[in-house]
């Protein structure tokens, strides 16, 4: 097992554990912090796949900007443990079981697939994640979706204004 593989398994485990912790933390602030951990682990994966630019953007945008906003909002709303609605215990169990079933199914099926056998992930290969290549691709082959996604953001902004502004 090479160092890269060890790193891969470590990051995957970290991402999974953090994600579970996001769900089960009672304190919302802790949840947000665990989410930051998830983003860090995923950024690590990006670096393993030779996509440094994506890794940095992921950190700056999600772990940096968005999560800080989340923290502010949670603190401003001043949530504490008592305001957390108590979920039905049975519902939780049912959720875990059904989610587990889905996970099992997907894992079984994907494991069967021929191209996935004996492979974990392609590492240090490809250069598409590098800033120069990504930029070229975005402004040549994928310029149409790039432009059209601006409509998506525009509508999201309009929506934010409509929802956020006082009447």
């Amino acid at each position: 097992m090479s160092a890269i593989q060890i790193l891969f398994w470590f990051l995957s485990g970290l991402a999974l554990v953090s994600a579970i912790m996001v769900l089960i933390s009672k304190n919302p602030v802790h949840s947000v912090l665990w989410l930051v951990m998830v983003f860090f682990a995923i950024s690590g994966h990006y670096i393993l796949m030779n996509a440094q630019f994506l890794a940095i953007v992921n950190l700056i945008v999600y772990a940096g900007a968005i999560m800080v906003l989340f923290l502010f909002v949670i603190m401003l709303m001043n949530l504490d443990k008592t305001s957390d609605p108590q979920k039905n215990w049975w519902m939780k169990l049912a959720g875990v079981i059904s989610g587990g079933c889905l996970l099992m199914e997907m894992a079984t099926l994907v494991r069967q697939a021929a191209e996935m056998k004996e492979k974990t992930v392609m590492m240090k290969e490809g250069s598409i994640g590098l800033i120069g290549n990504l930029g070229k691709l975005l402004f040549s082959d994928y310029v149409v979706p790039f432009e059209i996604s601006s409509v998506l953001f525009l509508s999201a902004m309009v929506g934010a204004v409509v929802i956020g502004k006082k009447n």
Binding site: K87, M91, A94, G95, S98, C101, L102, E105, M106, L109
Partner: protein, 634 residues
């Protein structure tokens, strides 16, 4: 000329719409003019078409695709050939006269009902025209149903009288039984040949198996039995006399009831292929002719006598068809249309004069009060009795001659029927017009000849009854039988007359002599001493129409009602209602339960969705096993 064809049914349709929609606002005279005028217009166009056919042959005019399903294509098309053009003339010609007659006869009705009457009458003519003009069995069926509907409406025209409504209902139900046979025959044809067009059906008739042909023709004949009042479906026709008398003349004597004859004559190619059916038709026709003639002997209602006489004459026509004398049958349809319409209208004139008294025992001696009616009625009676040279003689003789060639027994029974016909017609004539008046003094005071709108049609029809037979003078009497030549393009050649000229002379002489004897006997018997008492013994059986109505009532109506009661009280209440309400309750119940899933909790929803995804993937993975299992199931 082809572009004129659609005008023939269009005029009566327009008349129907105007009179039907405007019955509350139009004046009586205008309604009468529109009602009669449209038929006159149709008659004129029909004349044009008739001569066109005579000179240039038949035409088929295709208007549009009426039904278009898969390979089955039924077009809305009219076929104008010798047969249909002849019927067009009868329908519109006699129809026009009867419309004119009606304007006076129905004068006492309120304007609104007057309009309704003419609207129905025009609709009837329209339907009848569709029936004969259609170029396939489907169009014929539309007309077939249309005339049935109009007959129903007109029999029950005076709908305030419940008995009339029952009579209308009876006519409709009996007709429907026959229609079922007709429909089945058409379905059978379409199933076997894939078409209902006359031309295609007759062209491919040889590809049918003998069983198919027999079944189809018998089913068609069931339809004809209903519409043309043959045993066992004849009982509606006498009851149909509940309608106004001109209606009886038009629908129940001259036109609608001959639809069955038209249909069989039209399908003669098929009928000629099945000897079984031909025999059935001949025997049913003969039995009907005799059976109803016996009933007519003892009836005392002037219209009932004529009604049974009509049934009897229709029987002769079927006898003609059954022995292969298609032309003879059509010929008899034509002459019968003249003299029977004449007789009915004459009876109407009498009834009019007697203020709606129809019992002949209360009449008598009307000769001097109603001279025109008397004379024309007498002509009608002579014509129907088959005395030369009146029209009835030629047509009846042709049928009887063909019957003799087929089987002398048919001929013998036919002549016996003819004798009875002559007897009861002159019994009717003598009791009504001869002797002394037996009604109340008040009635006698008001006796009067009918207005000219009624007498002129009588005179025209009387003239036709006298000369109408000359289009079919047989060759042995020095004629050419022009009708035969005209119709030969449509009707197959009849069975050859094997009998020699001498035999024919003898046959003719016998039938005329017997009829003449019956006439003299009847006049002698009834002009002085009419039967005023109710009949005794066997006569009572005849007076009560062999108790056929009672028989049907016991066997069919009562048992059906008993079954209906069982179905209504037991099956419907418990089973059907239970099932319907049960389904409703089940849906309601499941609705209430399903509603509970919609809890409003996002967590629940997502849980269900995840479960659904799990199931979908499971289905997807095991698809082959499941698919095989399910395909075995279905």
């Amino acid at each position: 000329m082809n572009q004129l064809v659609y005008l023939v049914p269009l005029f009566p349709l327009i008349g129907f719409l105007i009179n039907g929609l405007g019955r509350k606002s139009l004046s009586k005279s205008l309604i009468g003019v529109i009602g009669s005028g449209t038929i006159l217009a149709s008659f004129i166009v029909s004349l044009v078409l008739f001569f066109n056919v005579k000179n240039n042959g038949a035409v088929v005019v295709d208007y549009f695709n009426f039904i278009n399903i898969d390979s089955l294509k039924i077009s809305f098309a009219f076929q104008i050939d010798a047969l249909s053009s002849l019927f067009l003339l009868i329908i519109t010609g006699v129809g026009f006269l009867i419309h004119v007659y009606s304007t006076a006869y129905m004068q006492d009705e309120e304007p609104q009902h007057y309009g309704r009457y003419f609207a129905y009458l025009n609709l009837f003519v329209f339907s009848m025209l569709l029936l004969v003009m259609g170029a396939n069995y489907v169009i014929m069926f539309i007309g077939w149903e249309g005339v049935g509907l109009c007959s129903y409406l007109l029999i029950g025209f005076w709908f305030k009288n419940d008995n009339y409504n029952y009579a209308a209902k009876k006519a409709f139900v009996m007709n429907r039984i026959g229609d079922l046979g007709f429909l089945l025959a058409v379905f059978w044809l379409i199933a076997k040949l894939g078409t209902a067009n006359y031309a295609d059906v007759f062209a491919h008739a040889s590809s049918l198996t003998p069983f198919d042909v027999t079944a189809i023709t018998l089913l068609l004949f069931v339809g004809a039995m209903g519409k043309s009042a043959q045993i066992p479906l004849y009982t509606w026709l006498p009851d149909a006399m509940a309608g106004p008398t001109p209606v009886s003349a038009l629908i129940h004597a001259a036109t609608m009831v001959t639809a069955g004859i038209y249909m069989i004559a039209r399908s003669n190619v098929l009928y000629s292929m099945s000897a079984v059916t031909m025999n059935v038709v001949a025997i049913i026709g003969l039995v009907t002719a005799l059976f109803s003639a016996t009933i007519a002997l003892k009836q005392n209602d002037i219209k009932k006598v004529l009604a049974y006489s009509t049934v009897s004459q229709l029987g002769y026509m079927f006898l003609g068809l059954g022995v292969g004398a298609y032309t003879g049958a059509v010929f008899h349809v034509m002459t019968h249309a003249f003299f029977k319409a004449l007789l009915f209208l004459g009876a109407g004139s009498v009834i009019h004069a007697m203020h709606h008294e129809q019992d002949i025992r209360k009449m008598g001696g009307l000769k001097k009060h109603l001279p025109i009616t008397h004379l024309t009625f007498l002509i009608g009676c002579i014509a129907i009795s088959g005395i030369p040279p009146f029209s009835g003689f030629f047509s009846k003789d042709e049928i009887l001659a063909a019957a003799f060639a087929k089987n002398p027994v048919y001929w013998g029974l036919g002549v016996a029927g003819a004798a009875m016909t002559a007897f009861y017609m002159f019994r009717l004539y003598a009791t009504t017009f001869l002797g002394t008046f037996r009604g109340t003094h008040d009635q006698e005071h008001h006796l009067h000849e009918s207005p000219s709108a009624m007498t002129i049609p009588l005179m025209v029809l009387a003239l036709l009854s006298v000369v109408g037979g000359f289009v079919g003078v047989p060759e042995i009497l020095g004629g050419h039988h022009e009708l035969h030549g005209f119709l030969s393009s449509v009707l197959t050649t009849e069975v050859a007359h094997e009998s020699s000229k001498n035999t024919e002379y003898v046959l003719m002489g016998i039938s005329v002599a017997i009829a003449a004897i019956a006439i003299i006997f009847a006049i002698n018997k009834f002009s002085k001493k009419p039967e005023l008492q109710d009949a005794q013994g066997f006569g009572k059986v005849l007076e009560n129409k062999w108790y056929v109505d009672e028989l049907y009532d016991t066997f069919f109506v009562k048992t059906t009602l008993a079954k209906a009661k069982f179905l209504k009280d037991i099956i419907e209440k418990n089973v059907i209602d239970g099932a319907v309400n049960g389904v409703g309750k089940l849906v309601n119940y499941s609705s209430r339960q399903l509603r509970l899933i919609q809890s409003g909790q996002v967590g629940n929803y997502i849980l269900f969705m995840v479960l659904a995804i799990v199931v979908v993937i499971l289905l997807w993975v095991n698809d082959n096993h499941l698919y095989q299992y399910i395909s075995k199931l279905f």
